[in-house]
Symmetry: C2
Subunit: 139 residues, 2 copies
Amino acid sequence: MTLDDLDKTGAAQLSRRERQIMDALFEAGELSAQDVRAAIPDAPGYSAVRALLAKLVEKKIVDFREEGPRYIYFPVVAQEEARISALQKMLKTFFGGSTAAAVNALLGMNKEKLSSEEIDKLQQAIDSAAKAETSARQQ
Amino acid sequence: MTLDDLDKTGAAQLSRRERQIMDALFEAGELSAQDVRAAIPDAPGYSAVRALLAKLVEKKIVDFREEGPRYIYFPVVAQEEARISALQKMLKTFFGGSTAAAVNALLGMNKEKLSSEEIDKLQQAIDSAAKAETSARQQ
DNA sequence: AGCATTATGCTAATAATTTAGCACCACCAA
DNA sequence: TTGGTGGTGCTAAATTATTAGCATAATGCT
């Protein structure tokens, strides 16, 4: 198994429009065709968006449920799985696989945005990582 | 300006193969055509890879320098810019823009991989973020 | 020198993607 | 009922992406 096998979103194989649509679906969780159209850049017509969605459904990357007369589309892969997959891919591509480098970059980017509650949570996560490191060293 | 304008890598507009190649270039920093070919999944022939690279050069997304008889290709956008851009895009798509959620996910993913040195660095980054939060609150 | 290997410039054929449009349906208001 | 609005199923044409191959050049080895 290679790291590519961790790509649960299958993003590496998506065409330009497919990828735009998947990003929109992951961001929102689920969307109607019309909302997908509103969410993607330089959107084509409604029927073009539907044809693209139909293709993704055919490929079993996207599924839909009916809500009255309209279809609500959502990614087949679970949200949490997609997150992890995207994180790993980004680590590999831009941070040489280093979690610490990525976290540092994240924190450096958004200093003014963290609430005290969020900082507490982060502190807990660091403490937890530190404990895991300590026990790993003792083994 | 929208968040899409922060996409310095221009990834949203890349075709399937273009994106694979850009990922390989960002990961490695720079690559020969042959190495690009080795780095992308289900690679076509050498001349196909070169044609794709030529297209990216034409679009000014990639540039190259000559090293003896061979060309070494590299992304035009700076590494650091690409990192930040990718991070922001990922935050937006998978974490509702929340840095804290992303950091938590990162730390939860790789508990056993952090060295004590890395943990110290993370602690400093958190402390720094905490200080920024405190001063923001006092203003 | 000759040959093999490795490289680029360029092209066009092939495949895939993207797109719009027709036909039809359901619902609602006048 | 009619017309408008909003929806899907399906298709094929237009556009773009992908691919391999020819011609040429450079390098290294025998």
